[in-house]
Amino acid sequence: MSFDPQDMPVFDAIVYWMVVVGVLSIIVMVVSLLSLLVSHRGAGLRIFAEEILRSLTDLFSLSIRRIWALSKLTFIEAYRRKALAVFVVFALLFMFAGWFMGGDTRDMTTDQVKVYVSFVLRTIAWLTLPLIVVLSSFGIPEEIRVRSLHTVVTKPARRLEIVLGRVFGFSMIGTLVLLVMSGVGYIWIVRQVPASARDMLVCRVPVYGKLQFLDRAGNPADKGVNVGDLWEFRSYIEGATKARAIWVFPGIGERTLDSDGNLHLENQFLAFRSYKGNMKQSLLYDYQFRNPDTGATYTTEARPINENRGVTDVISRKLVSRTDGKTYDLIKDFVARDGTLRIEVSCIDREQYLGMARPDLFIRKPDVSFAVGFFKAAAGIEIMMILVVLLAVTGSTFLKGPIATVLTSVLMILGGEKAHAFMDQLMIGRSDKGGFQGGGFFESIYRIITHMNPTTELPDNMGFTIMTGVDGLLTGFLWLCKQVIPRLQYFNMSEYVSNGFDVPFGSTLLPCLLILVGYFLPCVMLGYFALRIRELESK
């Protein structure tokens, strides 16, 4: 597996969110107050207090009935704008997709299934998201242009309700599109995969552990050996030495076993040979179960790896030692008091290496239906779509349609994993800590113009001190902007499903929901204030 699902630290995330939202709110309040004091002098404070009071009144007198009515209107309006014409493109794609992607159906491989699943999920996301961005960005500006918003604002409907009605209405039409597309997509996948290969359409439910290493002398180490791979995701343990990869799996009990009482351990270790050796024989590994409380150990027989495809080892609950004939119970004898199971993996072949990363060994709980994982991934797209609606509607309260579209699209692009990694590197600013070489904005311009090597120290004088100081300020501003840009890496759940895994709640769905909730309050409030101060007569 080439990805490593990590649970989101929920508490830390909430605290961080509160700090960012709190700081931003204070900045907005202070700036508003100061501008009111400057423009209205003594009356500024009174106006400010009245505005706050009116906002609170609007907030506490929200009417679900009015929001629902506005949502329905938004839905009907989007429908009349032929939003559902997207189904034509969708139908065309799916009618002919099988022509281009159909491999040898008699000999279906997991890679082909992977291509089908990622194609469907990607198509759904790529068709719905742009549609929703355009619809939501043009909604309010268009109403202002044709002056239909005037009739709404003269009714008892509050501006907060208008924003909420828009968000819910566009989300509803998006949900309808998504529901139909994911339903058709699911049927398409199931029909494309021949009956003989249906068992490849599964969702494995993994329990991941924590991984630590012992070096060849048996001392604890952060990592194993690097055998020259550029990607340092996996590290290697040397065969026939004391080097071990140790996994500690939490929450192990009888429920982890299958109905026959067996433990399913799935691995995908890689091989690295320092000499060719016996090429007909794959490298061998074994597992050692060790209870840290009692010191009991049990070592399995040596097993061959199956590189890049993986092996599922079925471990019987009743273990009989081959050396002394003693019988162990996997759960009673090896699960520690804190509910963890410790498994040590060693490489058997001398001077050969086995490569592994944390997700390369997991306990496989009973599989769930493919539909479960697929629709969870579709739910990921749904949450992202609502977030997009939220950002686009907020943007459209103070921008014109095309500009709001561009703003939302840019936020989506910047929200990707690579863009965030790029910004992180910019902010670190020092190559020895994983950042970019060559300093900040002005420093890098200076270095380019003067052909100065990025590793050369800058001259030590006042001018350069000011320059690096200004760069620091700009980087600080970038940091602030970065906090506002959503992290969309969690929303891509297709990789789980296409690789045959269930979508884990803690490391994907939960962060997505939290991100949505986190953006909801600030976006709606920003939209509300923007709509209140917007001059509706100005088209």
Binding site: S2, D107, D111, K114, V115, D229, L230, W231, F233, L270, A271, R273, K276, M279, K280, S282, L283, I305, E307, N308
Partner: protein, 455 residues
């Protein structure tokens, strides 16, 4: 001035401007009428002149052409993005995805030969080596080979690509560490879908890999001749020797596999014919004039001093040509291969090889008496052959000397095991003494000796 015109006049002016600009565009872009002379548009004429039309270059891939058209001028940008994806997928060992990206890249650049070459190499050499199981490695060697073959179909005038196809058959399958397995898989594919037979796409005629390589190298030579597309990989004398070299490899591999009958002798006989009658008679144009001039003369590696004298009037030039012929012969090891083929196509050489091979087999089975007799017969056979002045060059031929030394090692070991003293004098003793200082060779022989117990 435009401002003084009415709207209608302005529109008319724009229309005339458009029409005027259209004329050169139409003139340039007129389609070909199918004949070279009568091609009407300038671009069509140039395309015909330099044979740059899609169908001139190779098979037309409609999806590739459509993709390039849709991307307008942005295919370079798209390819760059694809290459960065490709690199990431390669580093992360996501082979299936990397293959899909490779496919997209070649669809965007179907006539960029280096792209085919690099990606074919990547699949056959780099990706295959990343897998542990030999059948998996072979699968990617095949992928690389098939990929290069696809490249040739789309660039049928590419001598380079055709050379690289042949290289996969000859070097990757024949010389890799896993060659023993690869050569076996070439005839009995490990993929269950071929039910123990060949992969028809990779080995349609069910032949030995060296014979397929020979055929593919011959195709490369034909492309060079037919389309006048010189290659820049090897010196031309070396490049043109490849088909014959494959025949040598084939004959040697038959011996290694323990086949010493008429088939092997005929293979050597054919190798001799290929080397002396076909390759030896090919003409290579070499410069013979003083530096800075371009006076050239066609030489043949099989040409005698008398031939040179007959063909060149000036004695100075004749001497210069004779020297050049000699230096080219040395470069391609011409004499050695001629001698070797001559020698190996004799039945007594085949018999000596068979004896040494059988000695190893008996030794493995611990049938020591039979092994000793066979080894001695082989040593005696080679003593006679290598003492013949005609074949004395072979005394320095490493693989043959290693074979003889292994035979001697088996023979001596049997004496030791049986508690007998090794005789003071025995056939080929002088050969061992001659190579005593060649530690690399001795290490090889010792390794092969150990392997007799392991295999």
């Amino acid at each position: 001035m435009m401002n003084s015109l009415t709207s209608q006049q302005r529109k008319l002016a724009y229309l005339i401007g458009i029409l005027l600009l259209l004329i050169p565009i139409i003139m340039l872009g007129l389609p070909s009428d199918g004949t070279k002379a009568g091609s009407r548009g300038k671009l069509a004429q140039l395309r015909t002149e330099y044979e740059l039309g899609e169908s001139d270059l190779g098979d037309v891939d409609p999806s590739s052409a459509a993709m390039n058209l849709v991307l307008l001028g942005m295919r370079g940008v798209a390819v760059n993005l694809l290459y960065s994806e490709f690199d990431m997928q390669k580093d992360m060992k996501r082979w299936a995805e990397m293959e899909a990206t490779t496919d997209s890249i070649v669809r965007l650049q179907p006539h960029f030969e280096k792209v085919w070459e690099m990606n074919g190499w990547n699949l056959a050499y780099n990706t295959s080596a990343e897998w542990d199981a030999v059948p998996d490695r072979y699968f990617y060697v095949k992928k690389g080979g098939k990929f290069l073959m696809r490249g040739v179909r789309q660039n049928r005038k590419s001598t380079h690509l055709q050379y690289h196809v042949a290289n996969v058959y000859q070097k990757k399958i024949g010389i890799a560490d896993e060659a023993k397995f690869y050569r076996e898989y070439f005839l009995h594919d490990p993929d269950p879908k071929f039910k123990g037979g060949v992969d028809p796409e990779f080995n349609p005629d069910e032949q030995d890999n060296y014979l397929v390589a020979k055929r593919e190298f011959e195709k490369a030579c034909n492309i060079e001749d037919q389309y006048r597309r010189p290659q820049h990989i090897l010196d031309r004398t070396l490049f043109r020797s490849m088909p014959a070299r494959c025949q040598f490899d084939y004959a040697s591999s038959l011996q290694k596999d323990g086949k010493f009958g008429e088939v092997t002798r005929e293979a050597w006989q054919e190798a001799l014919t290929d080397w002396t009658r076909k390759y030896g008679q090919q003409e290579f144009s070499i410069p013979i004039g003083p530096l800075g001039t371009d006076v050239r003369f066609p030489i043949r590696l099989e040409m005698s001093a008398e031939d040179i004298r007959k063909e060149i009037a000036s004695p100075d030039d004749a001497v210069r040509v004779a020297k050049m012929v000699e230096s080219y012969r040395k470069m391609v090891n011409y004499y050695y291969w001629r001698t070797r083929a001559n020698c190996e196509s004799e039945s007594k050489t085949a018999e000596a090889h068979r004896n040494l091979y059988e000695a190893n087999q008996f030794y493995k089975k611990q049938e020591l008496e039979k092994a000793r007799d066979a080894a001695y017969a082989g040593m005696k056979g080679f003593e006679e052959i290598l003492r013949t002045p005609e074949f004395s060059d072979l005394q320095a031929e490493e693989s043959l000397v290693e074979e003889c030394m292994l035979g001697m090692m088996v023979w001596e070991d049997i004496h030791r095991v049986s508690g007998e003293k090794v005789p003071a004098d025995y056939p080929l003793k002088w050969l061992a003494a001659q190579h005593q200082g060649n530690h690399g060779m001795i290490a090889n022989v010792q390794r092969s000796f150990k392997r007799l117990f392991l295999d």
